[in-house]
């Protein structure tokens, strides 16, 4: 069963800037990995763009400071996934001092592939749609020929990518073209939702001279922005692990723009556009913010209503949080009215099964009890680890059960997190 979720009316393409946080809390997390080497000490002065941490293990992605100022402390703060993450607290001196950078070429397509990968890596470019996967790793794959630019943004409310694309359309096209040339790829396809006519028109105005870049409209069903579904919809190809298995790279608009800034200015990923929306705000905005900014500062500026609940992420995949700091993969913050749905008994209508994009059987996972060790084996047969957290099972549930949470619990158990 394919599900269309109505586009939310609470959208606004107006882009505002909030770049004066008193303190920033840079989360020491990359993707889901909190195994980070800390490179600064308490009291140390850091520049805007200084490396303050580096991921251990295979992907040595650095983490940068988004302000210049003094490292005050290390503190745990809630991050996009609703969990407490250790953060570096830096007091902003508002001087925006930058370390001297070299090796900048005026034409961004003139880099060699090695230089390109190095720039992406050193500037900490990661997927900005949610997973936070290091972008340079995607480009290290062999035999890649197609770049899919994900401008779908299938969750209601979220317009961060769309706003950015409208504001920086020329830069984005230039970057896509440069990526194709540097990596000797055949073509790029910009995927836009059918209903987003405005965005298509914007691209249509500028795309004329870029012969290798095409625009493809995709249907409005949710979750079309999910990589696997998008690749299938556009190319008809299935893959098991990564799109690069079938010669494809998927980047979203924000990531492409971050690549642009890395190539053009050697600028690390220290700020991003985040959608602020929901009934709890007077007016929705897209805000350019520094990574590490505490969300309540921005919400206060946007006059959030009292008693609103704060959601990190979109309405479908997001989590309710009490406090939140901006991270590179957070695309949306919602302030919503609390409305408790009456939860009733499961009638086993099977709707959650028919909507699941990864073919799980959520109701059966919910019904399985797994208290003892041997039950974990039982639950493994249901493959809850495949869950992508799209939230459709809860969305469709006529009994208003928290199906997604139950599947997530099972997922954690199978992965051995608990």
């Amino acid at each position: 069963m394919k599900v269309k979720i109505a586009k939310h009316k609470l959208t606004n393409d107006e882009l505002i800037v909030y770049n004066k946080p008193k303190k920033v809390y840079i989360p020491l997390i990359s993707g889901n990995d909190t195994n980070i080497t800390i490179l600064v000490k308490k009291g140390e002065y850091v520049y805007k763009g200084s490396m303050i941490g580096k991921r251990k293990g295979d992907f040595r992605i650095p983490i940068h400071s988004s302000v210049s100022g003094t490292v005050l402390d290390f503190e745990e703060k809630t991050c996009y996934n609703g969990e407490k993450i250790k953060c570096v607290v830096i007091e902003n001196d508002f001087k925006e001092k930058i370390e001297q950078k070299i090796n900048i070429k005026k034409t961004i397509s003139k880099y060699s592939k090695e230089e390109f990968l190095e720039l992406l890596k050193e500037n900490g470019i990661v997927g900005m749609g949610g997973a936070g996967f290091p972008t340079y790793v995607k480009y290290e794959a062999k035999n890649i020929d197609t770049l899919i630019v994900n401008a779908v943004e299938c969750e209601p409310y979220i317009t961060a990518d769309c706003t950015l694309a409208k504001a920086k359309c020329e830069e984005i096209l230039e970057t896509i073209d440069a990526i194709l040339e540097i990596n000797k790829m055949k073509e790029a396809i910009i995927a836009i939702k059918k209903e987003n006519v405005e965005l298509k028109q914007v691209f249509d105005n500028f795309i004329g001279t870029y012969l290798k870049i095409k625009i493809k409209l995709v249907s409005n069903i949710y979750p079309m922005g999910w990589e696997k579904r998008l690749v299938k919809e556009i190319t008809g190809k299935d893959y098991s692990n990564y799109p690069s298995d079938v010669g494809i790279i998927v980047n979203n608009i924000s990531t492409i723009y971050a690549i642009y800034e890395a190539l053009k200015y050697n600028k690390p990923l220290i700020e991003r556009i985040v959608t602020f929306s929901g009934e709890g705000l007077e007016k929705p905005y897209n805000v350019l913010v520094k990574i590490g900014t505490p969300v309540d500062e921005i919400l206060n500026q946007l006059k959030v209503k009292e008693n609103s609940i704060i959601v990190s992420g979109g309405p479908m995949m997001g989590n309710r949080v009490d406090e939140l700091v901006i991270s590179s993969n957070l695309n949306c913050v919602l302030a919503l009215n609390e409305n408790a749905n009456d939860v009733t008994a499961c009638i086993e209508c099977g709707k959650c099964v028919s909507v699941c994009p990864v073919k799980l059987s959520p109701v059966l996972i919910m019904k399985t009890k797994y208290k003892k060790e041997r039950d974990i084996k039982k639950i493994k047969a249901y493959h809850p680890e495949k869950c992508i957290g799209c939230g459709l099972c809860s969305y469709i549930c006529p009994a208003k059960l928290y199906v997604r949470e139950r599947v997530k619990e099972a997922k954690k158990i199978v992965r051995g997190d608990k």
């Binding site: 069963m1 979720i5 209601p156 959601v311 309405p315 479908m316 995949m317 997001g318 989590n319 309710r320 919602l334 919503l336 749905n341 009456d342 009733t344 008994a345 499961c346 009638i347 086993e348 209508c349 099977g350 709707k351 099964v353 028919s354 073919k359 799980l360 059987s361 109701v363 059966l364 047969a381 249901y382 493959h383 939230g391 809860s394 969305y395 469709i396 549930c397 006529p398 009994a399 208003k400 928290y402 997604r404 949470e405």
Partner: protein
């Protein structure tokens, strides 16, 4: 806890749609069994309300049982969200019209209790209404007699059993004349103008409800489709093997409780499969088991559904695994298909009648003189062989003479009193519509068969 957007559809709306889809059927019941007999003047004004009264009593009995349960356990909100009236409502709908009130009450209570034993709404394994039905079948089997099924008007106009009971009495698998004709035509089966349980007769309204409920995503649409489809294909093949036409499978899917059971009972969300493959397997199994029941003599929609209820968990397990790898379900499909094909062949062979010849009929002699053919024949009657001489002239029976018989004298006298032998000669071209003599059914029927067998021998086809 997320997500923060929810679909507008909820359990309450689903249950409301279910009730809406039942409404035309309930109106049909009231018109067929209440209003029409009243208009024909065969029942009184008060009796007109009997069918609707039955339904209300059934629903209320279930509601009361669950209310008491909620009171005892002090579950305040339980009754608000448990849709407690459904078991009794559905049970009444599949019972005969003249089921005594106290049996409706007991059955509905048993139905609800069977739901509560498992822990109440959402937890029962077996369809509650059908558990109540099973209870009544086991304890009060005399409820299911022909007379209870018929409304007063049908009693006066149709002198046969319900279609499936009638079908179980014919030799072989029967013929159009035996199966369908007594009730008019197949369109009567479709509309529901035939005797049967309250809600089960109108296939058309069940199909309409199916379409409405499927479009509004209220029921699991695969189950009824595969279920009815399986019965259709199997009975089509059996009919084909025995030389019967398309009417035969249509007769099967349109009669008995199949349509109503498939649309409303087999799709009961709580007791049916949640995975698509599970639902298809469920439909297949239901179809095969129902055919088995029907060809071993009883109507078994209710029992098929109850049997498969017990397998739902296993079917869903297959369905769950095959969502990741469809090949893992193939072996089960093949298994069920093999069983279905084997059963089709077995049933077809077991019902084969050699050239449709009546084993109770015997031609002693047959002489042709000019344009006359003289038959000396015998036919098994009530007390033994009835021997007769029949003379056919110009393709018409001109004389029928009973030469000897062993019937009891008073019964035979009844036949003579009715001038039945002459009636047979007069109606020789239209024997199917000739009624038998009441109180001497077997004797008169034997005579009728004797004549028709002679005609069959004289003019095959």
């Amino acid at each position: 806890m997320g997500p923060f957007l929810r679909n507008e559809d909820d359990t309450k709306k689903i249950m409301t749609r279910l009730l809406i889809s039942l409404l035309p059927i309930i109106i049909f019941i009231v018109v067929k069994n209440g209003y029409l007999p009243y208009r024909y003047g065969v029942i009184s004004f008060i009796e007109m309300f009997n069918p609707i009264l039955n339904i209300i009593i059934g629903a209320l009995s279930s509601l009361i049982v669950e209310s008491i349960y909620a009171l005892i356990l002090r579950k305040k909100n339980y009754i608000k969200n448990s849709y407690a009236f459904f078991p009794g409502l559905f049970l009444t709908l599949i019972l005969p019209l003249h089921t005594p009130i106290h049996i409706i009450v007991i059955g509905s209570m048993i139905a609800s209790i069977s739901k509560l034993i498992f822990g109440g709404f959402g937890k029962n394994i077996f369809n509650p209404a059908l558990v109540g039905y099973l209870f009544i079948v086991l304890v009060y089997s005399n409820v299911f007699t022909t007379n209870n099924y018929f409304n007063q008007y049908e009693l006066d106009t149709i002198s046969r059993a319900t279609p499936l009971t009638n079908a179980s009495m014919v030799s072989g698998i029967g013929s159009y004349d035996e199966l369908v004709k007594p009730y008019g035509s197949l369109s009567n089966f479709l509309i529901g103008n035939i005797p049967g349980s309250l809600a089960e007769t109108s296939a058309l309204l069940c199909i309409a409800a199916y379409i409405y409920l499927s479009i509004t995503k209220t029921i699991k649409w695969r189950i009824p489709l595969v279920y009815v489809g399986t019965v259709f294909v199997m009975t089509f093949c059996i009919g084909r093997l025995l030389g019967e036409g398309i009417y035969y499978p249509l007769f099967h899917i349109l009669s008995g409780g199949l349509m109503f059971g498939a649309v409303f009972m087999a799709t009961d969300p709580i007791t049916s499969c949640v995975t698509p493959v599970g639902q298809i397997l469920q439909g297949l199994l239901l179809g095969v088991i129902t055919v088995i029941f029907r060809f071993t003599g009883v109507e078994g929609v209710a029992f098929s559904i109850l049997i498969v209820n017990a397998l739902v968990f296993a079917l869903d397990k297959i369905g769950m695994v095959s969502r990741f790898n469809i090949l893992k379900s193939v072996v089960f499909f093949i298994l069920i298909w093999i069983v279905a094909i084997a059963l089709t062949i077995v049933f077809a062979n077991s019902r084969k009648t050699v050239d449709n010849q009546d084993p109770n009929f015997n031609i002693i002699s047959k002489n042709k003189i000019d344009n006359q053919t003289i038959y000396n024949v015998s036919q098994e009657g009530y007390g033994g062989k009835i021997k007769a001489q029949i003379i056919i002239e110009n393709d018409l029976i001109i004389s029928l003479e009973i030469t000897s018989h062993r019937e009891t004298n008073d019964r035979y006298q009844l036949v003579l009193d009715e001038d039945y032998i002459n009636k047979l000669i007069v109606n020789q071209g239209n024997l199917d519509n000739l009624d038998t003599v009441s109180s001497a059914t077997v004797t008169s029927n034997a005579l009728k068969k004797l004549v028709s067998n002679v005609l069959k021998d004289y003019k095959p086809n």
